[in-house]
């Protein structure tokens, strides 16, 4: 019975090939648009999420304050207000997971005939914990390297590439500002940061080495910023408050006076970025859904025309024994076949289009099974929903009226 109905529906669609194809086209474009937009949206979202994950979670960054020198304000981080001992006492606060005092600077690196200018960060081993950064090979420097300010370095992927090429950098000696440093390890790749910087273009050295031997400072023991990781997202407000209290006390800042440091919640900023990406993804999906809806209305439109045009045929079928539900099924099947085939083509086009966009523009795309399934289910539902009314209309005809219809 069902098989006979299917072939009947197929016959009717074949008889009106052009119209069937045009109706299908609405569905194809709708589904392809949904898949493509979801792929782009989710790609962007994933990119943002990866950047956030690469930054580390539950992070604060504490920057030293600004100085004023002869009326010129020097900007954040210029004043040497944060010290290694500040970092140590922050580490003793409750709910703080890890603290990484950091002194960045720029230096020229040389290995053999290659050289490369990059950002060198003087920090502690907990920097790796805080940034959730693994080593690709080798091992990190330790607290004893900090204490004795040894000349050791961890290379970012980009730096390793530029200095060593295919060579293994471990246990090789590079020169930073003409002093020899032993390469202990190579950091795993992290990719771009949220603002598009290459996070792998960096070198880590012990903070004490950076202060005393590499950059030097007129204020011994100061750092530019302290990265602090809270134990959990819930603990962040509490940790922020206790850091501010602690530092004001340590820096002897009077009641009512401004802080000589600033503290930023990186996770909050990251969440905003993630939220933005999500909203964008949703908007793209919503816009694409409208085209799917338009495709569905196209199906209804054509099916209504088809029912009117074939009223006489419906009459003949009823006169020889078709029940209302047989007619309903026949027209519904036509709508479903159109939407399902249209949907299949749409999925292929959408997935192909997504990879074409990705190949052409380098934009990240993510085609998930769930987005395909969703588009498919929605398209089939749209076909059934919009096919139902015309089919119902056809099945409710009185045989005599249908037969007399000219």
């Amino acid at each position: 019975m069902m098989l006979a109905m299917l072939s009947e529906a197929w016959m009717a669609m074949w008889a009106n090939r052009l119209r069937t194809i045009l109706t299908m086209l609405g569905m194809v474009i709708g589904v392809a648009a949904v898949i493509l937009m979801l792929a782009v949206g989710q790609g962007t979202q994933q990119q943002v999420q990866e950047s956030i994950a690469s930054m580390g979670s539950n992070l604060f960054i504490i920057l030293s304050g600004s100085t004023t020198s002869g009326g010129l304000r020097m900007g954040g981080g210029a004043a040497p207000t944060l010290t290694l001992t500040d970092a140590q006492s922050i580490e003793e606060l409750p709910l703080v997971a890890a603290v990484a005092p950091s002194s960045p600077g720029t230096a020229q690196l040389v290995y053999g005939s290659s050289n490369w200018s990059t950002q060198v960060i003087g920090t502690t081993p907990s920097y790796l914990t805080v940034r959730d950064w693994r080593l690709a090979s080798g091992m990190p420097f330790t607290d004893s390297d900090i204490r004795s300010a040894t000349r050791v370095a961890l290379l970012g992927q980009t730096v390793a590439q530029n200095l060593f090429g295919d060579e293994d950098p471990i246990d090789k000696t590079i020169r930073i500002k003409n002093s020899p440093y032993l390469v202990l390890g190579v950091l795993a790749g992290k990719g771009q940061s949220l603002d598009g910087r290459d996070q792998d273009d960096t070198v880590l050295v012990p903070v004490t080495t950076a202060q005393r031997k590499l950059f030097g400072s007129q204020f011994a023991g100061t750092v530019r910023f302290i990265m602090t990781q809270a134990e959990s997202a819930e603990a962040m407000p509490q940790v922020e408050k206790s850091i501010i209290e602690l530092l004001r006390q340590r820096h002897r800042i009077r009641e009512g006076a401004d802080n000589d440091f600033s503290i930023r919640n990186l996770t909050a900023m990251a969440n905003t970025a993630a939220e933005t990406a999500k909203v964008m993804s949703l908007m793209l999906g919503a816009i694409a859904s409208i085209s799917l809806l338009v495709g569905g209305i196209g199906i209804m439109n054509i099916m209504l025309v088809s029912v009117t045009e074939r009223t006489r045929e419906i009459g003949i079928r009823m006169a020889i024994g078709a029940r209302g539900k047989d007619i309903l099924l026949q027209f519904l099947l036509e709508a479903i076949i159109i939407s399902v085939i249209g949907c299949l083509i749409g999925v292929l086009l959408g997935v192909g289009g997504a990879y074409a966009v990705s190949a052409a523009s380098g934009m990240a795309v993510v085609v998930t099974v769930s987005s395909i399934v969703t588009a498919f289910v929605v398209a089939a539902a749209v076909g059934i929903f919009f096919g139902w009314y015309p089919a119902r209309k056809a099945s409710m005809l009185r045989p005599i009226d249908a037969l007399r219809f000219q």
Binding site: I316, G321, A322, R323
Partner: protein, 246 residues
Amino acid sequence: MTEAVIKIEQLCKDYFTDAGTVPVLHEVSLKVMPGEFVAIMGPSGSGKSTFMNILGCLDVASSGSYFLNGRDVGEQSRDELAQLRNQVIGFVFQGFNLLPRANLEDNVALPLIYRGIARDERIMQANIMLNKVGLGKYHHSRPNQISGGQQQRVAIARALVNQPKLLLADEPTGNLDTHTSKEIMELFNELNKRDGITIVLITHEHDIAAYAHRLVRLADGCVVYDGPVDGDPHLQAGHTHTGASA
């Protein structure tokens, strides 16, 4: 006593228009026994087409009763009526009413679909019927590739494919020339004689009606004659098919 195929009592049909109620059939009673071959005649507007549509369960009466093969048609649901049309009645139309894009085989097999018969069986039965009406070799042709007479034969094959008790024909020769009409009527005659199928047909031509064994004449929605074909006073008076002066 055998059961009547058609038993109609006091059947009325009114149409409702903006101008008011228009009675089309007025207290028509009719009984048709199995194996009968009945011609219904009447001028245009006499209600014969409406009567035929009610007989064929395509339309419903306003009042009165209609028993088809012992079943009260007035009591049947839409689906049950469809089943009656499918299995008890075979309907032949003036305009053939074949599906233009299906081949003859599929056209004839169409009623079997709604009875839930499998495809192989459908095609086999359809071909048996096509052979019976002499069109077996055209089974893959389309309706527009054969003549009107042949199309009507296909329609008859379709009407017969479910082995109905009753064959209803609404001016089956109305669109055909004299020669082809004769052939179709001989086919009806053969079906009635050999297979014992009850036939009720509408016509306005006397030589077509002459093939039947019994004549029912309608005028203004009432039965004005019911008896042997050659006993019809209108026929003897030499009236033409319009019968306008009756």
